[in-house]
């Protein structure tokens, strides 16, 4: 098994290289890069007169001088052959130097780092709560198949699935934050967060996160719950459960000891995928609740063509998904011995 995982880890290197090449090529090829954006901004800033002039002279003239433009090109590496500038970019990435945001001027890694704790917090909470709800609910539904409990929970789960997360967000904000005023309208912490005691801080964060978590999770139950239910039902009908019963084992014990372990194999496969999902977040929900997370950052930088940030997010995101995949593999190998020896 160790050899298998060493091989898997080594495979990260070529995959990661491939991803960086793609990211680099795509951002280079898409028209409207940072230089064009700066030109427009400069035009807007210097008013109509200049803009009229620039229309006549094209991009090269106008507000920025030739030397300024060259400086910019040099800064973004546009002046060098594509391979060379890719090499420089790659080297910088490996040193965690993701460049500077063209929008704020601050290092990309800084703005990503600021958002990470918030996104990780919501991601981990969503994932934990989803597993904590879906696995027991799936088991219950499988054992009580076609009873009232099963049918009613199916309806609820599907309603949650059918309502988009941001709509759910607006609904819960309207009811619980606006009319009932039970929860805050938005934000990650209160304004007086720094003055609070440790327990106060924890409470404050939890209090702020109830509504966003509801919005995040309302749709997440359906897939996992039904995956659990169906997979357990398959395994309940499996021959080895019958063998266990034929040995004289009680039904409950047979479910726990034999069917359950086999039915979490597909759930384990899903595990790593969820890690990437939660980091990507949902910019709509983040926007509604005014949470400064990863999703919002990615969305805004894309709209603003803030390429260093976009590239930084893509690179980190894909690295995380690679790690997520390996985590999935480890999880599957832990529950399924056939995988351990088969590879």
């Amino acid at each position: 098994m160790t050899a298998y995982f060493i091989r898997r880890f080594l495979l990260i290197i070529p995959t990661f290289l491939g991803i960086t090449i793609l990211v680099f090529t795509v951002t280079r090829m898409v028209p409207g890069g940072p230089i064009e954006r700066m030109l427009t901004e400069a035009q807007l800033a210097s008013g109509d007169q200049v803009s009229f002039q620039s229309n006549n002279q094209g991009i090269a003239g106008s507000t920025l001088s030739e030397s300024q433009l060259n400086q910019l090109k040099e800064y973004y590496g546009f002046d060098k052959p594509i391979l060379e500038s890719y090499g420089i970019w790659l080297k910088n990435i490996l040193l965690l130097d993701l460049g500077y945001s063209t929008r704020y001027g601050e290092p990309v890694w800084e703005s990503i780092k600021q958002r990470l704790p918030i996104s990780i917090y919501y991601g981990v909470m969503t994932m934990l709560l989803t597993y904590m709800v879906c696995i027991p609910l799936g088991i219950l539904k499988a054992i009580k198949h076609k009873t009232h409990i099963d049918n009613i929970s199916s309806i609820l789960v599907f309603i949650g699935y059918a309502i988009p997360g941001y709509v759910m967000g607006i609904i819960v904000i309207t009811i619980f934050a606006f009319y009932l005023e039970w929860f805050p309208l938005s934000g990650f912490t209160s304004n007086n967060f720094d003055e609070l005691s440790f327990i106060g801080k924890v409470k404050d964060i939890l209090w702020h996160s109830v509504l966003p978590l509801i919005a995040y999770m309302s749709g997440a139950f359906a897939v996992m719950t039904f995956l659990m239910k169906n997979s357990l039902m398959d395994n309940l009908a499996a021959d080895y459960v019958r063998t266990a019963m034929a040995k004289g084992m009680e039904f409950k014990t047979a479910v726990v000891k034999h069917a359950f372990r086999n039915s979490i194999i597909p759930i384990a496969t899903n595990f790593g995928e969820n890690i990437t999902l939660f980091l990507a977040g949902s910019f709509l929900i983040e926007k509604i609740f005014n949470i400064d997370g990863f999703g919002l950052l990615g969305y805004e930088s894309l709209v603003e063509r803030d390429y260093p940030v976009v590239m930084g997010i893509l690179v980190i995101g894909s690295l995380l998904s690679l790690i997520g995949n390996i985590l999935s593999d480890i999880c599957v190998a832990l529950v399924d011995p056939r995988v351990r020896f088969g590879a």
Binding site: Y240, T243, M245, H258, R261, N262, P337, R338
Partner: protein, 332 residues
Amino acid sequence: MASKDVLLKVDNLTTTFQTDEDSITVLDDVTFDLHHGESLGIVGESGCGKSVTALSIMRLLPKPAGQVVKGTVTYNDENLLSLSREKMYTIRGKKIAMIFQEPMTALNPVHRIGKQLGEIYQIHFPEMSEAESHAAQIDILEKVGIPSPEKRLREYPHQLSGGMRQRVMIAMALSCKPDILIADEPTTALDVTTQNQILNLMRELQQEINMSIIFITHDLGVIAEMCDRVIVMYAGRIVEQAPVKDLFSTPHHPYTKGLLESIPRLETPPKSRLEIIEGLVPNLKNIPEGCRFRSRCDFEVEDCSKTDPKGEPIGDESHRTVACIRWQELSS
């Protein structure tokens, strides 16, 4: 028939399966006895109710679809079908054990052999220590002819061959020295050589612990080799019951005759056509009136559609029954 010799008595067993639209009677009025130390074969085509008979006795029918609606299964003066669930747990595995057709799927892929084998001792002999259980496991694996049992106990099912897995299943079934072993097509999924080894092994172990075996198969060759008495089933009914020698020498029911004729034999000239029974098993959803076999029977007369033949005992041969209204004229 000496009733004190009877170990398991199945009376009028009727089992139905509930489908979305209606319920299907898959087992209709099945009655037979199993004697001490006897090997009883149950033979028939796929879907004739062989396995359902076994699962009904064990009370392991797939829930909630399968249900025994009538009849009794008497073991030790108790009706197994009305026992409490807790009581049944103490009988399954310990008094009546079962092995299944598919050794590939009958073992749990994620647990080691040792764990799955050890469970039986845990269930039925909770006072046994870890070490005692381990010793017993090695002992039983050796008994079923598994080399280096110590190593095998630490392995997973997928690391074992089909024959090995079936041996493990047999070891599991026999670890409590049950009174009755129900073997549901135990050799069907194995190649012929392995099949022979497994059959020999079962026979040896049967003599050693003096148990009765209900042997379910569609292979008359296996029946001839293994069994003392045979039950022939067709479409959920018993059509003929006889000691194995009598069945092969003087079959009475047209279906049994058809089955025997459809076995390829060495003495028939090469390239000659194999006798078959024309047609298919009737759909259990709408069973024809009268005899269930009549649509495929060469000897059908008008009366066959009117009377529903019950298994009638044949003369003083008390172990024989046949369910055909014309058996006497056909056999003479």
